[in-house]
C-alpha cells in the first residue's frame, strides 16, 4: 500500500481512507453481541480464584452488570485518556463518560492516537468519543468539553467509578475533594454505598504511577501530598535530557530542513526558532511524553479499575503503584497510609496556631507553603458580628485591591478572636475548608 512515493500523495490517500471510514461507520446493522464476544471477560467473572473475596459469587450476572449498568467517568482525554478509553471499550464497558477542557494540538499526535492531523483545534473529548463510538459496536462514550469544576455533586454522584488521566495536581486534589464531599456518614459510620472509587494515574517521560483511592477508606490524594516534588512557582524547564543547553538548540536547527532558495532574510529568522524550541519548553512548562509509558500506566489503571468495579470479586491489594522505565525497569506497589489529620479526608478540624500579633499575610503564607496544605490562592473569610467578612481574596481584582490592606494588619486588629473559625476556599478543593484559630 505505502510505496516510497511522495509524502503528499500518501497523505492524501490516507485522508481519503479516513473519509471513507467515517462514512462507513464501522457499526453495521449488527451491533448485537456475537456468540463468545465477551469470553475473555466472562473467563474472569465466572470462576473463583485464590484472590476471590470470600463473599463473591461467580455468576453470569456480573457480566451483565459490567456491560449495561456500570457507569465510568474518565477524566482527561489526552495521553492516558486515549489509552484508557481504548482499554475500557475493548474490555466491554459501555457507559463511559469523558471530560476534557482541552483542544487538540499537533504535538499531541505522537501518543494521543485517537486524534489525527485533521482534528487539530477540535475538542479532545468530542473527537475521542466519536472515534471510540464508531469503532467499537455498542459502546456509548459521552463527551464533555468542560472543566471538572463546571460540574457539581449531582453530576459526579451518578458514576460507579472515576478514572483520572489528569495533568495537574490541583485538578487531582479538586476531584479528590469532590468525592470526599459525597461521602455519607451516619452516626460517624461511613455508608459504603456513598463511596466512589478514584483510580488515578500520571505519567511524565518514562515515569508514571497508578493508584487506587477508596474515599473515606484508603489514603487519598491529599494524604500523600508530600510525595509530590515541590511545585516550582516560576516557569522552569522540565526537560530531563535534551535539549537544555543553547548548543543543543543550535544543533537542532542545523538539521532542520529548510529550502535552499529562501533569501538570506529567512535564514536570519531561523535563530529565532532555536530559541522558540528551547523557550517554548521553558515557558509552556512542557512535559516530555511518549506513547509507551502512557500505554503501560493506562493498562495498570484499567487493571485496578477492573478489580475495583468488582470489589466483591477481588480483595483489593496494595493500592499504589509506581513505574519507572528510565534506567532498567522499576515497578513497586505499596499500600499508602492514610494521614491522620489529612485536610481532605480525615474530618479532623484543622488548627491554625498564631500569635494575635501575627499578620494576616503570615496565615496566607502558611496556607500556601505548608507541605500538607499547599494551597494556591486561598481566599479567607470569617464570620464576625453575624456577618460574613472577606479578609482576603486574590482571584477577583477589585476584591483583591480592597482587601489587600488587611494583609498587613494583625489578627487582633482585624477583630479575630481565639477559637474563631476561618473559612478558606481554594482551587485545590471544591469545598470550603474550616480552620480553627488558636492564639499562642
Amino acid at each position: 500500500m505505502a510505496d516510497g512515493g511522495e509524502p503528499e500523495k500518501k497523505r492524501r490517500r490516507v485522508e481519503e481512507l479516513a473519509e471513507k471510514m467515517a462514512v462507513d461507520g464501522g457499526h453495521g446493522e449488527n451491533t448485537r453481541d456475537w456468540d463468545g464476544r465477551w469470553n475473555h471477560v466472562r473467563k474472569f467473572l465466572e470462576r473463583s480464584g485464590p484472590f476471590t473475596h470470600p463473599d463473591f459469587e461467580p455468576s453470569t450476572e456480573s457480566l451483565q452488570f459490567l456491560l449495561e449498568t456500570c457507569k465510568i467517568l474518565v477524566i482527561g482525554a489526552g495521553g492516558l485518556g486515549c489509552e484508557l478509553l481504548k482499554n475500557l471499550a475493548l474490555s466491554g464497558f459501555r457507559q463511559i463518560h469523558v471530560i476534557d477542557m482541552d483542544t487538540i494540538d499537533v504535538s499531541n499526535l505522537n501518543r494521543q492516537f485517537l486524534f489525527r492531523p485533521k482534528d487539530v483545534g477540535q475538542p479532545k473529548a468530542d473527537v475521542a468519543a466519536e472515534f471510540i463510538n464508531r469503532r467499537i459496536p455498542g459502546c456509548n462514550v459521552v463527551p464533555y468539553f468542560k472543566k471538572i469544576q463546571d460540574f457539581d455533586e449531582s453530576f459526579y454522584r451518578q458514576f460507579h467509578i472515576i478514572v483520572c488521566g489528569l495533568d495537574s495536581i490541583i485538578a487531582r486534589r479538586w476531584m479528590n475533594g469532590m468525592l470526599m464531599s459525597l461521602l455519607i456518614y451516619e452516626d460517624g459510620v461511613l455508608d459504603p454505598s456513598s463511596i466512589i472509587p478514584l483510580i488515578d494515574g500520571g505519567t511524565e517521560g518514562f515515569k508514571g504511577n497508578a493508584r487506587v483511592v477508596l474515599p473515606g477508606m484508603t489514603a487519598c490524594i491529599d494524604c500523600t501530598l508530600e510525595l509530590y516534588p515541590p511545585q516550582i512557582n516560576f516557569p522552569m524547564c522540565t526537560i530531563a535530557s535534551m535539549p537544555r543547553l543553547p548548543e543543543h538548540c543550535i544543533e537542532y536547527v542545523r538539521v532542520l530542513q529548510w529550502p535552499k532558495e529562501k533569501p538570506f532574510g529567512a535564514h536570519l529568522s531561523k535563530p529565532y526558532s532555536i530559541c522558540l524550541f528551547f523557550l517554548s519548553g521553558v515557558v509552556k512548562r512542557i512535559i516530555p511524553a511518549v506513547a509507551s509509558t502512557n500505554a503501560v500506566i493506562a493498562g495498570m489503571l484499567q487493571e485496578k479499575q477492573f478489580s475495583a468495579s468488582f470489589s466483591s470479586a477481588y480483595v483489593p491489594l496494595n493500592n499504589y503503584l509506581v513505574f519507572n522505565d528510565v534506567d532498567g525497569l522499576y515497578t513497586y506497589t505499596f499500600e499508602a497510609d492514610r494521614k491522620e489529620n489529612c485536610m481532605a479526608c480525615s474530618q479532623v478540624p484543622q488548627d491554625l496556631k498564631f500569635a494575635s500579633s501575627a499578620k494576616l499575610q503570615d496565615i496566607l503564607r502558611y496556607l500556601t507553603e505548608n507541605a500538607s496544605l499547599q494551597m494556591k490562592s486561598p481566599a479567607i473569610t470569617a464570620t464576625m458580628d453575624g456577618k460574613n467578612k472577606t479578609l482576603y481574596l486574590q482571584t477577583i481584582a477589585s476584591i483583591e485591591e480592597r482587601t489587600r490592606p488587611n494583609l498587613c494588619k494583625t489578627l487582633k486588629e482585624l477583630g479575630l478572636t481565639d477559637g474563631q473559625e476561618l473559612a478558606v476556599a481554594d482551587v485545590t478543593t471544591p469545598q470550603t475548608m474550616l480552620f480553627k484559630l488558636h492564639f499562642i
Binding site: 500500500m1 505505502a2 510505496d3 516510497g4 509524502p7 497523505r11 481512507l17 479516513a18 471510514m21 464501522g26 457499526h27 453495521g28 456475537w34 463468545g36 469470553n39 475473555h40 466472562r42 473467563k43 485464590p50 481504548k86 482499554n87 475493548l90 474490555s91 504535538s107 499531541n108 499526535l109 505522537n110 501518543r111 492516537f113 459496536p137 530531563a240 535530557s241 535534551m242 544543533e251 537542532y252 538539521v255 532542520l256 530542513q257 512542557i286 512535559i287 516530555p288 511524553a289 511518549v290 506513547a291 509507551s292 509509558t293 502512557n294 500505554a295 503501560v296 493506562a298 493498562g299 495498570m300 484499567q302 487493571e303 491489594l317 503503584l321 534506567d327 525497569l329 515497578t331 506497589t333
Partner: protein, 348 residues
C-alpha cells in the same frame, strides 16, 4: 543496518519536528533520526501485536511490515482495535493495515499475508529489528539465530490472559549511549570537611556515556538445564513466570494454537498435564506453578496487552535509537499482582 554514516542523510522536516516534539524532548533528536531510518518487521497481529504496532507507528519508524497469515475471527475484533468490525474472513494483517497506517501517515506500513515459516532467511535480514508475537517456539529460535548473526535486533512477546512476557536479543555487542550526571571533582581544600573529598554528582550537567551490552540467543535463554547445581542455586531468584512461559509455549507447539475459552474444559487439564511434564523433566516441583494458573492464562486481556506492548514497544525504540540501557533479557508481567520483573536468564 543503520550506522553512523547514514545519520547525515536523514533530516527531520518541520512537520515531523512538530508532531514528534514531545518525544524528541525525551530522547533527543539524534535518537529520533535513527528511528526514522529504521525498518521493523512485526509478526502476529493479535492484541499484543496491535499495541506494538501502534507504539512503533506513533514513534515514527521509517517502515513497519505487518506479517500475519491468519484470518480474522470474531475473537480478533474484540481483542484488537485495528481490525474493523465486519472483517471476518479477511487476512489479519490486511485488515489491520488501514487503521495502522492512519495512525501516522509518515510511516510506511505494509501488510504481508504469508506465513512466517514460509519466508526465506534473507527476508528477515532486510529489517533492522524483528518482533515476533504468537509464534511457535522452534520458529522463534530459528528466526533468532538467522537475525542475530547479521545484527538484526530480535524481540519476542506474548500475552496469555493475565500474564505476558517479552524477550530481547540485541546481539553479542549492542552499543548504546546513556545520559549520566557529570561527576564533579572533589575539592582540593583540606578545610572543607570529609564530604568535600567525595566526588559529587552535578545535577545540572550531564554527559553521554557509551556502553555495550551483550545478549544470549533465545535458544540459550529457553534451554537452561535446571538439574545442574549452578542452576538450582539461581532457582529461588527466578520468576515463576519463566516456567509458565515454557508450559504455554509447549501447549502452542503441541496444539498449534493457544488455550481458548471455548475449549476450556479440554485445555485446562491439558495445561496442567504439560505443567507436570515440563517441570518434572527439569527435576522441579509442580508447586512452582500452582494449579489455579489455568484460570488466568486464557485469551488476551486488553490491559495486559497495553502494558506489555508499551514496554516491548519502548524496548524496540531504545534498541533502534541506540539510546538508554535495554532491558536484559526478559520482562515478565503478572497482571494479577501488577508486578513487572526484568531478569537475565541464559544457559551460559
Amino acid at each position: 543496518m543503520l550506522d553512523m554514516v547514514e545519520k547525515e542523510d536523514t533530516v527531520i522536516s518541520e512537520e515531523e519536528a512538530a508532531q514528534y516534539d514531545r518525544q524528541i524532548r525525551l530522547w533527543g533528536l539524534d535518537a529520533q533520526k535513527r528511528l526514522r531510518g529504521s525498518r521493523v518487521l512485526l509478526v502476529g497481529l493479535r492484541g499484543l501485536g496491535a499495541e506494538v504496532a501502534k507504539n512503533l507507528i506513533l514513534a515514527g519508524v521509517k517502515g513497519l511490515t505487518l506479517l500475519d497469515h491468519e484470518e480474522v475471527t470474531e475473537e480478533s475484533c474484540r481483542a484488537q482495535f485495528l481490525i474493523p468490525v465486519g472483517s471476518k474472513g479477511q487476512n489479519r494483517a490486511q485488515a489491520s493495515l488501514e487503521r495502522a497506517q492512519y495512525l501516522n501517515p509518515m510511516v510506511e506500513v505494509k501488510a504481508d499475508t504469508e506465513p512466517a515459516d514460509s519466508k526465506s532467511d534473507e527476508f528477515f535480514l532486510q529489517f533492522d529489528a524483528v518482533c515476533l508475537t504468537g509464534c511457535p517456539r522452534d520458529l522463534m529460535i530459528h528466526i533468532d539465530q538467522v537475525c542475530s548473526q547479521k545484527n538484526v535486533k530480535v524481540f519476542c512477546g506474548d500475552v496469555f490472559g493475565y500474564h505476558g512476557y517479552m524477550f530481547s536479543n540485541l546481539g553479542p555487542e549492542h552499543h548504546y549511549v546513556e545520559e549520566k550526571l557529570k561527576v564533579v571533582k572533589p575539592s582540593e581544600d583540606a578545610n572543607d570537611g570529609p564530604d568535600a573529598k567525595k566526588p559529587k554528582l552535578d545535577p545540572n550537567e550531564t554527559t553521554m556515556v557509551k556502553k555495550t551490552a551483550s545478549f544470549c540467543s533465545l535458544k540459550e535463554a529457553l534451554e537452561i538445564d535446571w538439574t545442574s547445581e549452578k542452576a538450582k542455586v539461581g532457582l529461588k531468584r527466578t520468576p515463576a513466570d519463566y516456567f509458565l512461559l515454557q508450559v504455554l509455549l509447549k501447549f502452542r507447539t503441541d496444539k498449534g494454537r493457544d488455550p481458548q475459552p471455548s475449549s476450556f474444559a479440554d485445555d485446562a487439564p491439558l495445561l496442567q498435564q504439560i505443567r507436570d511434564d515440563v517441570l518434572e523433566a527439569q527435576g522441579l516441583s509442580s508447586e512452582l506453578i500452582p494449579d489455579h494458573f489455568v484460570s488466568y492464562c486464557f485469551s488476551e486481556m486488553a490491559p495486559v496487552c497495553a502494558v506489555v506492548g508499551g514496554v516491548l514497544g519502548q524496548e524496540i525504540v531504545k534498541a533502534l535509537s541506540q539510546r538508554d540501557a535495554p532491558h536484559r533479557n526478559f520482562f515478565f508481567f503478572d497482571g494479577l499482582k501488577g508486578s513487572g520483573v526484568v531478569d537475565y536468564l541464559s544457559a551460559k
